[in-house]
Symmetry: C2
Subunit: 164 residues, 2 copies
């Protein structure tokens, strides 16, 4: 192989590798629901030390819904593209006032009935703290999420209800 051909071959390989990296990066970043802080606020709940899951769920969590998820919350039928966010924050208490603190994590449910037919059409995801790149759940975690959400089959597998 001539040096010219070798250079072209290496060049093509490098380009392919770059393409793979860019596609992978896009897949990862697109999992995080960018802009969810501007979505509709469904409801909030404060979890204190008495609750059995305080270690992992302690703090205040807000539920946010994109337009399609709001449609689902109102109709019970969640269309593909619906996304719900569970935004968990630490809290601080001072003189009876409990305020929001740092973000603990962001959990996500995204509806894609074809891709996730084994879990009611829902994909479950998790980003720790303010990280928006590294989705943390394993297949076993996702299965555990769905096991619990199955209790709400009649409500489209969603626990939260929109507070008017």
């Amino acid at each position: 192989m001539s040096i010219t051909k070798l250079a072209i071959t290496f060049g093509r390989m490098a380009l392919c590798a770059l393409c793979v990296c860019l596609v992978a990066a896009d897949n990862v970043s697109s999992q995080f629901p960018a802009g969810y802080r501007l979505w509709v606020h469904v409801k909030s709940t404060l979890i204190g030390p008495q609750f059995q899951l305080f270690a992992t769920e302690g703090g205040i969590h807000h539920i946010y819904a994109n337009d399609k998820a709001l449609q689902g919350l109102r109709s019970g039928q969640f269309p593909d593209g619906a996304i719900l966010v569970y935004d968990l924050l630490e809290t601080t208490e001072n003189g009876g006032v409990t305020s929001e603190g740092a973000r603990r994590r962001v959990d996500i449910m995204r509806k894609d009935s074809r891709a996730y037919s084994d879990s009611g059409g829902w994909w479950f995801g998790r980003f720790m703290g303010n990280d928006r790149q590294n989705e943390m759940l394993t297949p076993e975690h996702r299965a555990a999420c769905f096991t619990c959400h199955q209790k709400r089959q009649k409500q489209g597998f969603v626990f939260s209800e929109f507070r008017e």
Copy 2:
């Protein structure tokens, strides 16, 4: 005056009265920020019994902003038409889980720099419970609101800051 002319005159009077009623009703109902539950959620705070204003402020309150108010929260300059809502709900506690209860009241700040130049351009309003018709603040109440909000002149007279 003939009976025909009398009837026409009474008819016109009745029509005028109806117009006045409709305009008045529109003014009252337009004070309530319809649809605010779909606006951006700015932040939330829980007020417990230890806080000195628990009697009136106890519960969880959420702050919502319309698009213009969000613009103001980000820039420090609130344009006319900005509206902020303080949505105060009762809470119930069970096993360490504090959940949202009934609505206590909805407070409002609406920016109109010409109409309310004496109070930094802000109008202050209040609707108790789920009532959306009867705005409850007296001029003295509104003045008291502004006295406290004056502390935040540099922030456009607004206490809340948007949690990203």
